[in-house]
Symmetry: C2
Subunit: 500 residues, 2 copies
């Protein structure tokens, strides 16, 4: 009876936590509309919300509820008698409670305020191509992140507790091993491709009017099954997807004229995230912490599956290329589907992660993983970051950025204090390739793409991934769906089959 | 010493109240982006924020602080020893405390949730031109507003406590008397104008491309002194101005193609509100409740001064008409400034308050005032509102709306539960005319308009009105500036001089 009551109250508090997170999401969505002088106060607003969240997540009452439900460090799911949904709720709340108890409210607020200010400074530095405008706040952030890792505690690496927030159950050592395999495979593949002539992709970098790009983007999203009654789209400097409500899932596109690739594949990518969020918010989960992807890597597996494995495939474009030509007859004059596919799948080491092809992409992530580990360990200082970045680019990809904008200033993540986040992007590729392999053994994906029945792919993903929300851990979900643990070779096999 | 400490804590809580209101303002700003299925949850989010506000505004601690500072029903400004700024803070917080103590948290939340849901229903009903889609929720709202008036308490009219929220110190009887004078004056003027031929204004209702309208709007706002480092502009169904931060003041424009008048004068109108908000948030007041207009009518006096008295004057257009013609050469072909001025100052009884000329406008307000009083008194039911509306239109303005969209569905206010609000629009005209008369005795307004030095007008208004924020009560501020109490005849004199 005490258990029933505790469970009820846990759900009640969890729903309030989600509600406050959604409010914070509205402020995040609005971030780019804030006028220059308003940014500092906006950080204070986010800081206030963070504080309310902290109070809910880490309260003594929460501790008592979790204890009543049998949760402790050796039973993070709570009592064995609980059903799967309740176990998941206990697991998520216990992890947050445990983590937040280690941070004081003042620290949380300081962190939120600092990162809130940093966004604008980062955007300005990027615009001015001047790292020195960003360096002071980034140093503050790295110091705070180090402090955070100390407060969380760790056995092997200060990077462990940061990574665990985004990819529960995965350690720095796991990532190093998996990335070791991936690095070797990618570099071997890049070597093999080196002799080949580069496909002409100049027609992708013409002026494509934004309104028609937006129209095409919406058509593709609609075909994918994005429900505009439950979500909407916007424009931002760095594309993202956010849940502002159980039925208010939003994604943004970054327009980077003259070019169509980044907006187009960015939209499909965010569409993949958005479909996961829409599916994860259902009658079982809605309004609770369970109504979201089970981890960042699993989330990224879904966006990258749509963006690359499906969205850059011939069957996909057999369906959509005629429409694209119809909208952009001048830009695509004389371009047939073969030239188009060669262009959108061109492999070439380059500077910008967001625009990197699916082969070289993983090396961009390895670079960030290495630098983050060094920053945390204290073996690299923020002031030396631009140099370290450029050196690593040469070592991993064989190219040296000509400017900070092309290098160390390109990503928003560090301004948000999110060290430990980047590895999930590459893990996502690995999960996605493995899920893709299973999906293709069950449904005829290519035929569905060719005939425009993309929603049937969405339905398969929904039944196998989306609808489970955060009920299962990422590793367990991957095994449930594919029948085997993570194997980085599936991704290499997918790439080899496609490119060799 | 206890007083010092109480004052410090009062300011601290007040700043938190303002911060939470700003967060709520972000959600309001975002309202029109919410997808259809997300609106209900958005109301819950606003309800949560309202509840936090209520807890801050009406806490026992607040009661003790106010008592320590000497505030009670016969000393609403607190102890006589306090300085003006502290007195104003005590007055504002005491009024809110007193009012909110009379509402229970559950009632506040229910009110917020109901009105939150109503926005969307109103917008849909308006779109579908079908009052029945709006009637059920509006009935709920009227019942809640009646309950609110009961809870606040009143001596003469249930309308009194509602009005007092928006125009402190003004009673229903005051409004009736002032409106009595205004009604007679306006109807007399309209009678006199009746024989005259109507100016041709057809060229105002051509297709004016939105992007060029936005450009012109920004040029005018910039000339007026609107600071885009401290604010921004947007688009919405119903134009409004909101403070989302001390340095984040936003105004919206409603585009109503084919037409330029409503977007253009709507922008100047909201620009007037925004200048007041910008000026009211200064080193003395920023981040506190004092950083805003002292009342809705005073606010409206500033928007209408800019929109009508300045914005529809010949000197204003001597400055701006050449640029308007440059942007819209086709639409304004063959139109000279005389024809343009005649068109934008055309007086004709019409259906839509927002598009009404400055002469007939007051009668639209009298109509709403009468209907609101009747709804509250219970002598009119919501179901009979469309009929009552149309009958009043015939009685006051001599025209009968052909649809609900042209009639009872045109305004957003009731969906927000804001009965008692409308009278402030007309009071604003009266304040504005009186302030205008004083301003012209001190600076050469027409010369400043002609030469584009609009910011000098803004500086005068800032020094006399804006910068005082809410430190003085509206009646006192009006007397400080103009040297006399409110006299509705100044408005009639202004109109007669302009139109006869």
């Amino acid at each position: 009876m005490a258990e029933m009551k505790a469970l009820q109250r846990l759900e009640e508090i969890d729903r309030e936590i989600v509600l406050v997170s959604h409010i914070s999401g509205v402020l995040e969505w609005d971030q780019e509309a804030v006028p220059p002088m308003g940014t500092e106060e906006r950080s204070r607003q986010q800081g206030w919300l963070e504080r309310k969240l902290h109070d809910l997540v880490a309260s003594d009452e929460m501790g008592m509820i979790l204890a009543t439900l049998g949760a402790d460090d050796s039973h993070v799911d709570g009592a064995p008698s609980l059903d799967d949904r309740s176990k998941a709720l206990v697991r998520l709340r216990y992890a947050s409670w445990n983590r937040e108890r280690k941070l004081e409210a003042d620290f949380v607020q300081k962190f939120a305020e600092t990162t809130g200010k940093a966004h604008h400074l980062w955007a300005n530095a990027r615009k001015a191509d001047d790292f020195s405008l960003y360096q002071p706040i980034l140093s503050e952030i790295v110091t705070l992140v180090r402090e955070k890792a100390q407060r969380y505690g760790y056995v092997e690496s200060p990077y462990d507790p940061l990574l665990d927030r985004f990819e529960p159950g995965t350690t720095t050592k796991d990532v190093s091993e998996v990335f070791g395999v991936m690095k070797a495979d990618l570099q071997a593949l890049i070597d093999e491709l080196k002799g080949r002539p580069l496909a002409d992709d100049s027609f992708l970098y013409l002026k494509y009017p934004e309104d028609k790009q937006a129209l095409f983007g919406k058509e593709v999203l609609t075909a994918m099954g994005f429900d505009f009654n439950r979500g909407t789209t916007g424009i931002s400097t760095h594309p993202f997807t956010t849940s502002i409500g159980s039925d208010d899932i939003r994604l943004t596109t970054r327009y980077t004229e003259p070019s169509i690739t980044s907006p187009l594949f960015g939209t499909i990518h965010e569409g993949g995230h958005a479909l996961y969020e829409l599916g994860a918010s259902n009658t079982v989960t809605r309004g609770t912490s369970l109504a979201g992807g089970t981890s960042l890597a699993m989330h990224e597996s879904q966006s990258r599956l749509w963006e690359n494995i499906l969205g850059r495939s011939r069957p996909f474009w057999n369906r959509f290329f005629p429409r694209l030509k119809e909208l952009f007859p001048v830009q695509l004059e004389g371009v047939d589907i073969d030239r188009f596919l060669a262009a959108i799948n061109r492999v070439e080491p380059s500077f910008i992660r967001m625009d990197a092809d699916e082969v070289t992409y993983g090396l961009h992530i390895i670079l960030r993983f290495e630098l983050e580990c060094a920053l945390l360990a204290g073996s690299l200082e923020v002031k030396d970051l631009p140099q370290a970045w450029n050196d690593a680019m040469v070592r991993l990809l064989g190219v040296r950025p000509k400017s900070a904008r092309e290098g160390v200033l390109q990503d928003v993540h560090w301004s948000m204090g999110e060290l430990g986040y980047f590895p999930t992007y590459a893990l996502g590729n690995l999960y996605g390739a493995q899920i893709n392999q299973t999906m293709r053994s069950q449904i005829d994906v290519d035929a569905l793409l060719e005939s425009g029945r993309l929603v049937e792919i969405t339905h398969w993903l929904d039944a196998n991934i989306y609808r489970h929300g955060s009920i299962y851990r990422p590793k367990q979900l991957l095994e449930n769906v594919t029948g085997k643990p993570l194997d980085p070779r599936w991704f290499s096999k997918y790439l080899s089959a496609k490119y060799l």
